[in-house]
Amino acid sequence: MFEENRKVGVKLGMLALAGVLAFGGSAFAADEPTAADVQTNLNIVWTAVAAFLVFFMQPGFALVEAGFTRAKNACNIIMKNLMDFSIGTIAWWAIGFGLMFGLGSGWIGGGSNLFSADFSNGSDLNWTFFIFQCVFAGTAATIVSGAMAERTKFVSYLVYSIFICGLIYPISGHWFWGGLFGGGENGFANGFMWDMGFLDFAGSTVVHSCGAWIALAGAITLGARTGKYGPDGKSKAIPGHNIPLAALGVFILWFGWFGFNPGSTTTGDGAIGYIAVTTNLSAAAGAIAAMLAGWVRFGKPDVSMSLNGVLAGLVAITAGCDCVTFGGAIIIGLVAGVLVVVAVEFIDKVLKIDDPVGAVSVHGVCGVWGTIGLCFFHSESSFADLIGVQLIGVAVMFVWAFGTGMILFNILKATIGLRTNREEELKGMDLAEHGNEAYSGFQIFNNI
């Protein structure tokens, strides 16, 4: 199909004509390409590379979640991360993409692109756009495993994975981003939030909050890990077993975010650099702020909090990475860094909801902050003009994601069951669910 592509000699011989000849279904003749054709190809290459970087966020999440939880559950959490992406990919191909970007009313997409199989005779950017959106869906999906770690039945988690990438994420995704893929121009509906002018460039709300509110629903439905709260209801610490691994995960996520935010341009031009700068500044500011906030609050610079701070800054800048000033990006990151520390403590100690890795605080709370925060620092529009729609969007996502999440998890709870039994939890999910050990031979105290 693309055999010709590979013959370098031809290219050398004929000045990349081969490259040109090789065009999948692109619009122009097989003679000299125009600059616009090449720009299209550049957009494709850039978007593809960005998609790969976003894919790489998957191990980032897996390591953060494994590192922040106990050794006896490390295999299990990794399997969940592996499977939510794998199952999600198939669900996305089968239903998700069609629902999010297909024909349909402003409320539900679908139709034309369902079963993206036939989509395989699309062209150029289409396929790249498909994989780019696929890894985005996978990101929303994998956020949830962290908040539900160390106590969720493996099989129920597998079922959940089908619904997030197949239904929940794409439906709301269509409301907010339906317009991305042609939208009006191609006679598709844009989605009503898109038409209202809601701003969320790379998905603080559309991706991160979506995952986070579902995660919140999961954590509430499950209840806390055995031993997390004392009889007096006092919160107990359950230290993560491998902080270096978690830190690597955070760095990988930071790296992947350079695909997530700048990649959302799906265009190879100067905007990439601008967005990379805002993204990086906010992440750095988030790390510093979280470290300082933890220092003030707990007397010592907590490592896991500082790592969460990076993610807080990244999530928060995601909505406005394209439109806020550099100074604004720093402030957004600083606020996010403080917010995540406050939120983690509040959720743990006041709400007494057990979120082992702080997924709700990072992706939910900071996702909301980023979506609203951009109104303060928008380089062109005024706060007043923007805030209204932004608040509506945030609310719509909360109601949708948290609501569907509660329904889904409670159905699972009532049917196949959502939580492992106490014995299995004490023994560890790795042995109980998989019959495997994460660190065979290592001596590990397993009394908490």
Binding site: K427, G435, N436, F445, N446, N447
Partner: protein, 113 residues
């Protein structure tokens, strides 16, 4: 003085500690251990090959006590560790001839606590 050595299920450690504290036994030393006993062991598998794990994770407690405390200590451990299932563990008592507190050099009974 007696030296009490006990093997218990890891997940019982916290309860055992509570019971010991309640019995005024404040000092102890613990180590990780693997135990092999009546408890058949369980089956783990790796890449399709079955592993008959008959060395099961246990926690070893070592507690030096004065004669008066022996019974209290034993029953505290039993209370904290018993689930009624095979694998609950064992308690061993040996005679302790001497005890020294490194910090002060104290010897015998008063060095224990």
């Amino acid at each position: 003085m007696k030296l009490i050595t006990a093997y218990i299920q890891p997940e019982r450690l916290n309860d055992v500690k509570q019971k010991l504290y309640a019995a005024d036994v404040m000092k102890m030393s613990i180590t990780n251990a693997l135990g092999c006993g009546q408890q058949g062991g369980y089956h783990e598998s790796y890449r399709g090959v079955d592993i008959e794990v008959n060395l099961i994770k246990k926690i070893r407690l070592e507690i030096a006590v004065n004669a008066a405390f022996v019974e209290k200590t034993i029953s505290a451990i039993v209370e904290g560790a018993r689930t009624g299932n095979i694998g609950d563990g064992k308690i061993f008592v040996t005679n302790l001839e001497e005890c020294v507190r490194i910090r002060t050099g104290e010897k015998g009974e008063e060095a224990i606590g």
